[in-house]
């Protein structure tokens, strides 16, 4: 009996037909080797222009390379949610509503989106952000929790739960460059698909338990909930002028850590 051969996607670990050139779950190319730096950072897969992949009964197509667009053909019964200002265009048939969020006043105060919008199929809807970068497609497996810096979230499929976590510690809030909250995405019993937009290029590294790396706070993009973040300040003095402080976020494993190469620089005195 002939056994159907499968290829495992090196980005999301999904199984694909041996004839596939791109992963059917996340769109990552299957026929190019991983780009991993000697220091252990893996480049997020660069999605080919017009790549298609699927979730539920719906299809997503990635268009463009410099500021990629995620165009989703929503099937009847499927829906996605997204931040208010990332919608590029949509068919008239796509029904729109808003997701009720708890802690609205806190969110408004923290500069996070007060309204998260819902789009329900059937029909097409497309999303993009406003800067050069990469679309990062992260399938969230059942039981996984992922923390994402605010305003990096593009769109998520309906099976992913949305929450937010308050960053602990005043120093972390003031100097981490994340604001007061991070978005938290979690999958219940069903796998879902999360789309982020990373500015510039995106790199991922898997930290072992207790392993840590110091990261420019504005470069942090996402992490597994198991990765902890604390801000460290180093004073750089130059005699008469007093010098400057340098804030870096110490990220400690275990878990995945994603960073972006074009980041918001946060002022230090």
């Amino acid at each position: 009996m002939e056994t159907a051969q499968r290829i495992e996607c090196q980005w999301c670990r999904s199984q694909n037909l041996s004839t596939a050139r791109t992963c059917d779950t996340c769109g990552a190319p299957l026929d190019v080797r991983n780009l991993v730096s000697d220091s252990g950072w893996r480049e997020a897969p660069r999605l080919r222009d017009m790549t298609e992949f699927h979730f539920g009964q719906s299809t997503c197509q990635v268009e463009g390379e410099i500021v990629p667009v995620a165009e989703i053909a929503l099937a009847q019964g499927d829906w996605v949610y997204f931040e208010h200002h990332v919608m590029l265009w949509k068919d008239e048939s796509v029904a729109m509503s808003v997701m009720p969020l708890k802690g609205g006043v806190k969110r408004a105060f923290a500069g996070m989106p007060f309204i998260v919008s819902l789009a329900q199929g059937p029909g097409r809807i497309a999303f993009s952000r406003d800067a050069t970068g990469e679309l990062v497609v992260l399938p969230i497996h059942p039981g996984q929790e992922l923390d994402v810096r605010e305003h990096a979230f593009l769109v998520a499929s309906h099976s992913i739960g949305y929450s937010y976590v308050r960053i602990q510690g005043l120093k972390n809030i003031l100097f981490s460059g994340q604001g007061m909250f991070m978005d938290r995405f979690l999958a219940g019993d069903e796998q879902g698909l999360l789309f982020l937009h990373g500015y510039g290029n995106v790199f991922e590294r898997v930290l072992q338990a207790g392993e840590s790396v110091l990261v420019e706070p504005g470069a942090f993009l996402y992490k597994d909930a198991s990765v902890t973040m604390t801000v460290e300040t180093q004073k750089l003095t130059t005699g008469l002028f007093g010098g400057q402080g340098m804030n870096l976020a110490r990220m400690t494993g275990p878990g995945r850590l994603g960073i972006q190469s074009m980041y918001v620089h946060h002022h230090t005195d």
Partner: protein, 295 residues
């Protein structure tokens, strides 16, 4: 049998030619043909993703394509220095300290970084800037130097000397009793030089980078904010042009274009994405040595 060598078309360094995909000194790819415009601009070849640049006992790996990251793997005896705000990440073991700079008040006044930060190996430390573009590696041979417009510097190896100088490219406008001084190139430029040992300098060009050589006496007009670097032998001067058909009065010189005139001999490099320099267009009061042309 003599070992064959490869001479890089960009940095002119020769290395053994075995299985090279990019120049080990500057990262320029070896397997692409030169891209030269009909006007003579040489397009700087983008450093291939994950290319390694060797210096001392250390190397730098260039990662990414849109906003590339320069990831240094520093040996214990090697160091780099960098502008304060380009640090992307580092390993906890890399020792970071401040490098004091002369002329602190002047630098503060001119908006230049007061502190250069230096990192000592062993370990990894990585840098990137905040705009799409290219990392421009400039290997400096002993006794050579380049002038770099402010805020384009990413990092340099410990062997590279750092200094800065007044550009002397400025103009003053006057509105009533208010006099304002403008510096199209910035008040100061960075100068990087190699003494007895070669060194590696990394810049970030916004957009694409183009280089050309100017012969002695040859000149070209360049948008001031597009200038990336120049050889120290290249002179520069303010140039203003006034288009025909614009209104002028005794109070105003009308519309004008601001240029920096670069005159050879030496290399110059420009970037294709540049900041807008605001010229209030008001009455010109005084200028640094300048040429003027009215159409």
């Amino acid at each position: 049998m003599a070992e064959s060598t490869y001479t890089c078309r960009w940095c002119r360094m020769s290395t053994p030619a075995a299985d090279l995909t990019s120049c080990p000194t500057c990262g320029a790819p070896v397997d692409v043909r030169d891209m030269v415009s009909r006007s003579g601009w040489y397009e700087l070849p983008a450093v291939p993703d994950m290319a390694r640049l060797q210096f001392g006992s250390s190397y730098c790996q260039i990662e990414g394509a849109y906003v590339p990251v320069a990831d240094f793997n520093l040996a214990a005896e090697d160091s780099v220095y960098f502008a304060h705000h380009v640090l992307l990440w580092r390993e906890p073991g890399v020792n970071v300290s401040a490098m004091s700079l002369r002329g602190g008040w002047k630098r503060l006044f001119a908006g230049m970084p007061l502190v250069m930060t230096q990192a000592q190996g062993p370990g990894h430390i990585a840098f990137s800037r905040d705009a799409p573009g290219e990392v421009v590696p400039i290997p400096l041979q002993p006794g050579t130097a380049v002038d770099v417009r402010e805020h384009l510097f990413v990092a340099a190896t410990g062997q590279v000397g750092y200094d800065w100088f007044n550009t002397n490219v400025w103009f003053q406008t006057r509105d009533g009793d208010d006099t304002e001084t403008h510096y199209p190139l910035g008040m100061f430029m960075d100068r990087f030089s190699a003494g007895q040992q070669p060194g590696l300098l990394l810049l970030h060009a916004a957009g694409n980078a183009f280089v050309r050589g100017l012969a002695a006496g040859e000149s070209i007009l360049v948008k001031p904010t597009a200038l990336l670097f120049k050889d120290t032998s290249v002179g520069m001067q303010l140039h203003m042009e006034h288009p025909s058909g614009t209104w002028r009065s005794w109070r105003s010189w009308g519309e004008r274009y601001l240029w920096v005139r670069l005159h050879g001999p030496g290399r110059i490099a420009i970037q294709s994405a540049y900041d807008h320099f605001h010229d209030p267009g008001s009455n010109l009061y005084r200028t640094s040595p300048a040429t003027v042309w009215r159409w």
